[in-house]
């Protein structure tokens, strides 16, 4: 099994790991670097629970090869603690009670951050389109959309 050593920045921290070349970024983040905020939902890009931000764009980390993180900036949900927009979205999710089982929440928050960075004042429809790659199996979408909308108003 071929291993590859890669260097990247994980939530602002320079990180060096050795990973099998076919490993996904999701597996690396959870099992190699030990950050378990990023969730494994479907493993095939349908649910968005594993959403991370790579060099400023959101991606499904389950579809990303870990080796592709080499030399790049990776932000996971843990990294939002140091980010004003991220903190604002987290607070809005808490205030709106936009959490039922919570499994989709990290991915929703990450994708909301991506959406609001590019479009600071989205309409409700734009919010719906923005999170169309994120599934909430509790179907709690109304409060999630409320939360994202509230985060735009502060």
């Amino acid at each position: 099994m071929s291993q590859q050593t890669i260097n990247f920045t994980l939530n602002g921290v320079p990180t060096r790991v050795s990973v099998p070349v076919q490993m996904s970024a999701l597996e690396m983040i959870r099992n190699v670097t030990g950050l378990t905020g990023t969730k494994y939902g479907c493993g095939e890009g349908e649910c968005g629970a594993c959403t991370i931000i790579l060099d400023g764009v959101s991606l499904n980390s389950c579809l990303l090869f870990a080796v592709e993180c080499d030399g790049r900036q990776v932000t996971t949900v843990e990294g939002l603690a140091d980010d004003p927009l991220g903190r604002r979205i987290e607070k809005a999710f808490v205030d709106a009670g936009a959490v039922q089982c919570g499994f989709c929440t990290p991915g929703m928050v990450m994708q909301a951050r991506q959406l609001l960075e590019r479009n600071p004042r989205p309409s409700r429809e734009e919010i719906q389109r923005g999170i169309e790659g994120n599934l909430c199996r509790c179907t709690g979408y109304v409060k999630i959309i409320d939360a994202i909308e509230a985060a735009t108003k502060e």
């Binding site: 071929s2 070349v21 890009g45 499904n60 579809l63 990303l64 090869f65 169309e132 994120n134």
Partner: protein, 290 residues
């Protein structure tokens, strides 16, 4: 079977095609959005070497070259949709991209990857075909870089199968800048807008002048082993006034010329009905809005 035991990430086209020639058994990685789930599901077996082509600058970028727009193979669907040249000259690709998977996948998936996957339902393929796209291929069999190009429809051989030679790389897709009076439509029909594999898709393009439709191109997705040209439909439209009789004849031609299969997404009968009805609806829309 040889296991995956080597990883390369070339930083120039030259280096990539040399390595492809030397290493032989290579799986190409671009966005990874299809390779990852397909390899997990066992539908694609990794070859001995995984070649990550994401570090090759020559495969990036969208530029105008004369009367053509060149879209690099590594351009993501999101980058394509946001680019001023695409928005100005090829708005069909913006609306088609809007129906492509989800934001996260558009941010990772590449135009070249969508083409090389050669899915009969690949979302960019029908729009690229009706826009007259050519693919640009590169290899280095000896001391000189060999480039060739072919019309996109000729590139597809079957589901997941293309004319790409083993040591060849798809470097870009080239599209002519559409002439004055050019209209183009793409319709993807599925059960929901996001993350859906289409049951059928239709692309129609041509020049509409004084009510007459010419230089017509029609293509269909998800009705055959590859995306296909609607040659009989084109013939029913070429040089004709876009009136009710022409539209009815074209919709019938479309229905008669496709031979879809039944699968989990739709039956063959339903697909043929949808091809008829949607072709009619698209043409009525073109006729009413120009």
């Amino acid at each position: 079977m040889t296991a995956l035991d080597n990883y390369v990430a070339p930083t120039s086209l030259e280096q990539a095609v040399v390595q492809l020639q030397e290493l032989g058994e290579v799986t190409i990685l671009a966005g990874g959005t299809d390779l990852m789930p397909q390899s997990h599901a066992g539908r694609v077996k990794f070859k001995r070497t995984l070649m990550n082509i994401r570090r090759i600058p020559e495969l990036r970028g969208i530029v105008r070259e004369g009367d053509e727009i060149r879209i690099g193979a590594l351009v993501t669907i999101s980058e394509m949709m946001a680019h001023p040249l695409v928005r100005e000259h090829l708005p069909l690709l913006v609306s088609a991209g809007d129906h492509f998977a989800s934001d996260q996948i558009r941010n990772a998936g590449t135009v070249g990857g969508n083409i090389c996957n050669a899915s009969p339902a690949g979302d960019t393929l029908v729009p690229l075909m009706v826009l007259g796209a050519h693919v640009e291929l590169a290899s280095k069999p000896d001391d000189t870089l060999f480039r060739r190009s072919m019309p996109l429809p000729e590139f597809f051989v079957g589901p997941g199968k293309t004319r790409l030679a083993p040591a060849e790389l798809l470097t870009a897709v080239r599209l002519p800048i559409p002439p004055k009076g050019f209209v183009a439509r793409f319709h993807k029909f599925g059960t929901r807008p996001a993350l859906d594999i289409s049951a059928i898709s239709i692309g129609v393009a041509g020049v509409l002048k004084d009510g007459t439709f010419s230089q017509v191109r029609v293509a269909f997705g998800a009705v055959a082993p590859t995306p296909v040209c609607g040659c009989a439909t084109e013939e029913a439209l070429e040089g004709k006034k876009l009136d009710a009789a022409t539209i009815a004849a074209a919709a019938r031609a479309a229905q008669d010329e496709v031979h879809p299969i039944s699968d989990v997404r739709a039956s063959a009968w339903y697909r043929k009905e949808m091809i008829h009805n949607m072709t009619k609806r698209i043409l009525e829309d073109v006729s009413a809005n120009h």
